[in-house]
Symmetry: C2
Subunit: 354 residues, 2 copies
């Protein structure tokens, strides 16, 4: 595998939101035919996307959706309700159009790309159209050793940057990143604990559907991993390497690389939010480029959202991942942009003001 | 104006949700390629709409949007931040496509119809395409006399039933009702107080943007009206006649008439929810046919949602009305139906179960 030039650019400075576009958008909002503030969160969203896209009238039409999938060595510790073979099977299901994110991408008129970063089982059906970037048959078991080598981490970040590059080539207004990987709430929980200095018991949850005994086992596995790898929050890249997953690192790389190209990312649930938190620790000016879509049913998500200083748009008890919650929020972003751009002003409509 | 035959049918029995379709939908949900329950509220929504539409795979594609507009005599008490001329001006703005609900209906690919039930000021621009059902130049001042005559109430309910009839003719999957009328949060608040036996201070809020002194004045006006008309919650039609508005009565009539035609209604914010509560008191089996879309910023909305036993989908600080919040929830209903109908099952995709 060739070396990826991207990781050295991770700490490059990011563009800042455009204050002039924000002012123009704010002024336009005040002139639209509605009581000031009556569109609630949608008004601030329109202004925010205007600032990010550096234009008075922003757009959320062109959405680039990438799902990164990979297996996790820690699955052998019995931390998931599903067998590890499901990761490869779901990659085929994404590509064939039967998975939730595939249905939602179609509804949005968005192209879905699937990046296979390495699974334990081979893909039996071998659906075409999957971008293959195998970094190994999943990560190593983070409860016993570092999940990734330095080279694997670099390649995973690079796979994310490549997706950002494709999004930019397609002139995407927004990027949605999804993830799939049996046992990846364990990796994400370990990362959240390390970055937020919390014990596993404060963050761990049922993931895809563990019972209480399963959550207790998962919690113990994560505490063991945290003890093994030590507190390392001061070095977010090394934390990501030791406790993360290929798909989590790819998401982090994609968020940063999208921001470098002025593309806001719509962040999905617990695992994607942990990837966003890793990315934010790597690139501290990333925050405005992350639009958090929803509050997951996974209990640890709230702590991660607080750390991201995020007010998610939806709270529907979702806990699927794949980017599905982010995709579900896209119509709200589109509506915010359409209302902002298409509503008549008081002058245009001949409507009296308050 | 001709007599409307509809009001006598208001207490006709309603169809009940189809238990067999609900069972089939529930069984299908369990077979879809996702952890059970991981789509949160969307799973129950899909099953609910399946039961209402009496088919295993429900649809939210065809949406009929009707905005009812009318003026309110109580506006002379200084209970709104906007002048009364705005009602007629906004009717033109709906018809011309510049209002929020017009933009949202376009985004949804839904036809928007506007029903003018009577305004104080004439429409200056006279945009075509408005359905005119003038019941008078607005209601009488509910702080001094009954808002409507019995005949006006019947005609308003009938205007709602006509909209339901048009929705059924167009084979709508869902009905969205909106309202517009300067001072109509005052009428809706008075209705909520009468139906829920609450003082005005427990429900009244800023509406389109009153300051604290304005809210205090509005509260006093509503308390005066409640004292004048007496407790009358046992007769919801008479309560609606005394304290309501043409557009509020039309919405109530539309919700009931839609349910009679097996069309679920997506209920907007505070005023629409009060209309829904009136309708529920008139027709006690209406409840399953009302899908509450969002929690409004208007403080009294929470009490009304509790009375409707509703878990709204969105909580975005909206307080515009026009049906805008209901329209914003439609993509979630569409997504719930699309996921339910289009996702692959574990068998179809060859994915292992937990």
């Amino acid at each position: 595998m060739n070396a990826c030039p991207y990781p050295t650019r991770l700490r490059d400075s990011l563009p800042v939101p455009d204050a002039r576009a924000a002012d123009a958008a704010r002024s336009r909002q005040r002139r639209l035919t509605k009581p000031a503030g009556s569109l609630g969160a949608l008004e601030g969203l329109a202004v925010r996307i205007a600032a990010l896209q550096a234009r008075e009238r922003p757009s959320a039409q062109r959405v680039h959706v990438t799902v990164f999938a990979a297996d996790h060595g820690v699955a052998v510790e019995g931390v998931s309700a599903f067998p590890q073979s499901v990761t490869a099977q779901m990659i085929d299901n994404f590509a064939a159009g039967g998975a939730a994110i595939a249905v939602l991408a179609r509804e949005l008129g968005a192209r879905l790309e699937v990046v296979d970063l390495g699974t334990v089982s081979p893909r039996v059906r071998r659906e075409p159209g999957v971008i293959v970037r195998h970094l190994g048959p999943g990560t190593a078991n983070l409860a016993r050793e570092a999940a990734m080598s330095a080279s694997q981490l670099a390649q995973a970040l690079c796979a994310g940057a490549e997706a950002a590059h494709r999004a930019a080539e397609q002139r995407a207004d927004l990027f949605v990143g999804g993830e799939m990987g049996i046992a990846n709430t364990t990796a994400a929980t370990a990362l959240a604990c390390a970055l937020l200095d919390l014990p596993a018991s404060a963050v761990a949850g049922p993931g895809t559907g563990l019972d209480a005994a399963g959550v207790a086992r998962k919690t113990a596995v994560i505490d063991r991993a945290l003890a093994l790898h030590g507190a390392c929050a001061d070095d977010p890249l090394d934390t990501l390497r030791r406790l993360g997953g290929f798909e989590i690192a790819a998401l982090a790389g994609a968020y940063i690389a999208c921001a470098q190209r002025r593309i806001p990312s719509v962040v999905d649930g617990f695992i994607a939010s942990v990837a966003a938190l890793c990315a934010l620790r790597i690139s501290p000016l990333l925050s405005p480029w992350l639009i958090c879509s929803h509050r997951s049913a996974e209990p640890g998500h709230s702590a991660v959202l607080r750390a991201l200083d995020a007010q998610p748009l939806l709270d529907l008890g979702l806990r699927l991942g794949e980017g599905s919650g982010a995709a579900l929020a896209i119509p709200l972003l589109r509506a915010a942009c359409a209302l902002h751009s298409q509503m008549a002003t008081f002058d245009e409509a001949g409507v009296a003001t308050a």
